[in-house]
Amino acid sequence: MDLKEQIKNALKGDLDSFNQIVLEYQNLVYNQAYRIIGEPDAAEDAVQEAFISAYKKLHTYRGGSFKSWLLRIVSNACYDEFRRRKRQPVAPLYPENQNGDETESVSWLEDTEEKPEEFVLRNELSEAIQICLDRLEFEFRTIVVLVDLQGMDYASAAKVIDCPLGTVKSRLARARRNLKDCLQGFRELLPVEFRHLGEV
């Protein structure tokens, strides 16, 4: 059954058809949410809310890229979750040292039950990226995730965030610059080919 037929059946109230779509897109959606929010639990909540919202608003889908339509809903759900978490502060993502300063090392995320070298090998790049993404403002974070992590073009990203192309271009450039600077701090965690990321 193709996507169009699944959507058609879901519009008639066939929940099983919609769940087929959910299974097909849930990894993409979860990655988007996790990279924007930065917390697994909050990302899960946002994804679930996004799929519920998508089912209820399925009649508003007018063709075109279903991925863009779905990621727009996810981005909105992430924004809602982001604001909710801002109102109800949770444990800080960056732990503080004994002097009360934020630590930049990812070692605090280490799972003590796992061997340190394995943990670092598996997570170092992902965590470094996530830390740098978390330092971006929400709008910049969203656009860089859409374009560089999800591989969307500017036009699609513009539809998702409901902004003009010029805004996408400028926000993305600024986000990349900030990320470049941030990632320099994790140079030792990056693969060898990326370690010559220098200052301009």
């Binding site: 919609f18 959910v22 299974l23 899960e44 994804v47 089912y55 790049l125 992902s126 600024r174 990349r176």
Partner: protein, 272 residues
């Protein structure tokens, strides 16, 4: 020369292939002529590659929706069927119980009519009814005709055997005919007695034992009346022995209601 925000935006768009026309030519020229632009483009390229190389994190669980999540009513077909069957069984059970209850009321009246005491009373009244029936003129007349023929036949034979004169035989026949006819009329017993006396006077003394025997046999139709109500039919009316069909249906429908309700409840609990 410093790279402005606009230059960064142009370089970033160039990297993504999002420039065209004049902008593309302009940026390409800058990159070729200015090493600073070349270095900036290289750094953006690496940054983009790092982001693209970020591992994909699989969804920790399935995010499939349930009817409860979207506020839909449960569409469990089995549950609906069991619930419908239980409701149907309930209606049938109620219907059968109403029938049974109504039947019990009417049967109660019937059973009072056919109770052992009333049946005994009816049985006791049967001889009286039969006796009354015997006294009915029409019946008595019919019985009298039969008796007349019997008596005539017997006495004709006796006279023939004794060699009595024909005149005497004819006289006897006339007397007998009158006597027998009048015998059935109980309202005038004196006439019967008178006829008997006449018969005796006319030499018909031999007739008396036969008539007396016949008179003593008149109550004999009673057994025929009693046979109409044989004991087995009176004391064992239909359906009174064992469980009635309605009772069986009540049990079946009751079990159906319980069974289907339990199945529906189990299904609903599983779906939750």
């Amino acid at each position: 020369m410093q790279i402005t925000d606009r230059d960064w935006a142009q370089l970033s768009a160039y990297l993504d292939g999002e420039l065209s026309g004049r902008e593309l030519i302009k940026v390409r020229k800058k990159i070729q002529t200015d090493p600073l632009f070349q270095a900036a483009l290289e750094q953006l390229k690496i940054t983009k590659q790092i982001l693209q190389s970020a591992p994909r994190i699989p969804a920790p669980r399935n995010f499939t929706l349930t009817p409860e999540m979207i506020g839909m009513k449960s569409k469990n077909p089995s549950f609906s069927r069991f619930r419908l069957a239980a409701a149907l069984m309930s209606f049938l059970l109620i219907g059968v119980m109403i029938l049974d209850f109504g039947g019990t009321l009417s049967l109660g009246a019937m059973s009072a009519e056919f109770s052992p005491k009333s049946i005994e009373a009816q049985l006791e009244s049967i001889p009286e009814i039969a006796a009354d029936a015997v006294q009915e003129p029409a019946l008595l007349e019919a019985v009298g005709e039969v008796a007349e023929e019997q008596v005539v036949a017997e006495y004709t034979e006796d006279f023939a055997n004794a060699g009595a004169p024909a005149v005497e035989a004819e006289a006897v026949e006339e007397v007998l005919a009158e006597g027998v006819a009048e015998k059935g009329q109980e309202e005038e017993p004196q006439d019967t007695d008178a006829a008997t006396e006449t018969n005796r006077a006319q030499g018909g003394d031999d007739l008396e034992p036969t008539v007396q025997a016949w008179a003593s046999q008149t109550p004999e139709p009673l057994p025929a009346v009693i046979e109409y109500y044989p004991d087995d039919e009176i004391h064992e009316p239909e359906g009174s022995d064992g469980i009635s069909i309605l009772r069986i249906l009540e049990i079946l429908f009751g079990l159906g209601v319980i069974g289907f309700s339990a199945a529906a409840w189990t299904k609903r609990r599983k779906s939750h």
